[in-house]
């Protein structure tokens, strides 16, 4: 689960990480008021969306007067910001963070991740701040410091000093760096984060270390341990269909093809998309119905997949282990009868209670396209879509 920059900073501040003075505003007039409250004569206005590269899209601006603060806020709020990490439509900006602008003398990178190879929380630090750390790691791997944290003892001071020394945070800056790293680690561990990134970490006026930009994401399997994190969730940043699917216990990810997919298990769901792609088709989505899916859950899966206007045919591929083919078949029949489904539906069932499931489908008299196995299912889905597109083109309707 991702959160906004202003929320990350609020959370990190409560752990003692120094951040610039600032507040969030959802209108140009409030942005002006906030700037006045903060004081000073130079401010940064930062668009709040869940995507990086905001500076490149014009989502970070400097202002030298309250008038300019309001002007920039007005321009950002209510418009779509396009960055290298968003789609070409961009993301709607609903709020801006107004902060006192800093006199920066040097920038660093500081991050925490869960390293899959070391299987530990790992600190990543670099003297090359303000840049894409993956690009630095690629071009100049020696400039990226990695230190794994032993979960039995946490992050000791010596390890922070070691990292600080290696990126050049020495002298009077070292104790600040140690304090900041330990605060970041405590927050990461307490809240079950998966990723935290301070980029840049900067030296500003009179040798002060400060987190200029910050980003965190959290383990959705652990938010029940810290429900306060859920208050930070911004549904406007998420795909409405994906949010609805989660509510039904379905794992759905929208893609840009036209074959709707309903599958059980993440691996088989990906393999089904791959088989469609292998035969020259294009999947419209990833959808995993999970284990023990009830007929209602299957019917809901149809509802969600069909909300995508690009979907021209639906492929249901179930290999039941913990699932039951008879429940799945009932769900399919329910969906076909109640939802007025006009798209051709290809069904492949296998595993637990296969015979009962197939009988339910056969007895329903509904026009399914039966598939014997994964290959047959993928082939039939692609053929069906091709026929539909061809006839649309002949009628001058489709693309």
């Amino acid at each position: 689960m991702n959160i906004h920059e202003y929320q990350t900073k609020e959370l990190l501040k409560s752990y003692g990480v120094p951040i610039p003075e600032g507040r969030v505003a959802d209108s140009e007039s409030l942005a002006g008021i906030v700037a006045k409250e903060i004081g000073g004569d130079r401010w940064a206005i930062k668009a709040q969306i869940h995507a990086g590269g905001r500076g490149k899209g014009g989502g970070v601006q400097l202002a030298n007067s309250i008038e300019e603060v309001r002007k920039h806020a007005d321009k950002m709020i209510g418009t779509n910001l396009v960055t290298p990490q968003t789609t070409k439509e961009g993301k709607l900006v609903q709020r801006v963070l107004v902060e006192s602008a800093q006199q920066i003398s040097k920038e660093f990178y500081l991050g925490l991740i869960i390293d899959r190879i070391r299987q530990r929380i790992t600190i990543i630090a670099s003297a090359s701040g303000g840049m894409d750390i993956e690009a630095v790691a690629e071009s100049d791997p020696d400039k990226v410091i990695r230190e794994a944290v032993d979960p039995a003892i946490g992050l000791p001071e010596f390890q922070c000093r070691k990292i600080a020394a290696r990126i050049g945070l020495t002298g009077a800056l070292m104790p600040q760096a140690v304090k900041l790293m330990q605060a970041l680690y405590r927050c990461f561990r307490d809240k079950d984060a998966l990723m935290a990134e301070i980029n840049p970490l900067a030296i500003v006026n009179e040798n002060k270390l400060i987190a200029l930009d910050a980003k965190m994401s959290f383990d959705s399997n652990a938010v029940h341990l810290h429900p306060e994190i859920l208050n930070y969730r911004d549904f406007d940043e998420e795909d409405a269909k994906e949010v609805e699917a989660t509510g039904h216990g379905l794992n759905y990810i929208a893609l840009d093809g036209n074959v709707g997919c309903i599958v059980n298990g993440a691996g088989l769901a990906m393999a089904t998309m791959d088989a469609i792609t292998y035969h020259g088709g294009n999947p419209a989505n990833f959808l995993d119905v999970g284990g023990g899916a009830s007929p209602e859950k299957i019917a809901n899966a149809f509802r969600i997949v069909r909300k995508d206007p690009n979907v021209k045919t639906i492929l249901l591929n179930i290999f039941a282990g913990i699932n039951r083919c008879d429940w799945v078949a009932e769900g399919v029949v329910q969906a076909m009868q109640k939802q007025d489904i006009t798209e051709p539906v290809i069904v492949r069932l296998s595993g637990t209670n296969y015979a009962q499931g197939q009988k339910i489908l056969d007895d329903s008299g509904l026009p399914f396209i039966n598939a014997n196995d994964l290959d047959d299912a993928a082939r039939k889905a692609v053929e069906t879509v091709n026929e539909i597109t061809q006839s649309l083109t002949q009628n001058g309707l489709g693309r």
Partner: protein, 297 residues
């Protein structure tokens, strides 16, 4: 023979009296699994499906000599249940629970150091040695005793591959799920090593997916050490970058994480890579025929 579990394994289920554990324990017993009891805190002393229930894993180990545990407790309690199994001296711990907090698993992996135990999972469909022992949620009827080892991250894709090869007459020595989580127990390399040593395994099917580097690490190890052919598939050629595809660990974070990159690298390292997931069975068949066609010298 087989790896990890067999007819002599003494199996307990943690979270034994729960609905899923009960159903799958009964299924496992039908398959011949020697389940010797289970653990549900607060229900020690009861009898459940004819077997003793214990308060703690160490009680169960002392009373039954258990050496394998299937963990069926809800995800929020699962990390603790694994720690308990490790501490009690269980050697083979199979974690079915899905949705364990990642940092919980980081601590479990730390605790594992210095203990002689191996974890399979979390978020695995389990481990099965067909006809002998099943600890998991897989449909047992698609597995047949045979000489192919199977190791996968995904459960349902494991079923798909197994059905394809069983239909063509190739049974399995053991099928191992290592789970779909980013921090897991046994790696592909650990399982390949075991299959390499097993005289009753002739070839191994390795099914991976996008995210992480475990599959390529396994192929690198195999190039130097493996005496048996590997048939490999990586799910997620059609998956977009940066999105978690159902499994917590299935996310493309870098170019090397993509299915395409992994399959190309594995092919270079000598793995028989399958590009269409529907061709796993036929590739096994082809590879097996090519092995048996070579005259013994």
């Amino acid at each position: 023979m087989s790896i990890l579990i067999n007819k002599d394994s003494r199996v307990i289920y943690q979270g034994f009296t729960g609905q899923h554990a009960t159903f799958h324990a009964e299924e496992a017993i039908k398959h011949g699994t020697n389940i010797v009891g289970g653990v549900t805190p607060g229900k020690g002393g009861m009898t459940h499906i004819g077997l003793p229930v214990f308060e703690t894993v160490s009680d169960a180990v002392r009373e039954t000599g258990a050496n394998v545990s299937g963990i069926f407790v809800p995800p929020q309690f699962a990390a603790d249940a694994i720690l308990e199994a490790i501490e009690a001296g269980i050697k083979t711990i199979i974690v079915i629970a899905d949705g364990i907090p990642v940092q919980g698993m980081v601590r479990v992996k730390r605790y594992l150091i210095g203990h002689d135990a191996m974890i399979y999972g979390p978020n695995t469909a389990g481990v099965i040695t067909p006809g002998e022992c099943k600890v998991g949620i897989m449909p047992a009827n698609i597995y047949k005793p045979g000489r192919i080892g199977v190791v996968s991250r995904s459960g349902t894709l494991n079923y798909e591959a197994v059905e394809q090869m069983t239909k063509l007459g190739h049974g399995q020595s053991t099928s191992v799920g290592i789970g779909g989580d980013p921090i897991n127990g046994a790696s592909f390399v650990n399982v390949l090593k075991a299959f390499n040593e097993d005289p009753d395994t002739d070839a191994v099917v390795l099914i991976g997916e996008i995210g992480g580097s475990q599959e390529v690490d396994a192929a690198l190890w195999a190039k130097e050490n493996m005496k048996k052919p590997i048939i490999g598939f990586i799910a997620g050629v059609s998956a977009p970058a940066g999105r978690r595809m159902g499994h917590a660990g299935a996310i493309i974070s870098a170019e090397a994480d993509t299915a395409e990159a992994k399959m190309n690298r594995m092919e270079e390292l000598g793995v028989h890579v399958v590009r269409n997931p529907a061709d796993i069975g036929s590739t096994v068949d082809r590879v097996m025929k090519s092995i048996t066609a070579v005259p013994l010298t």
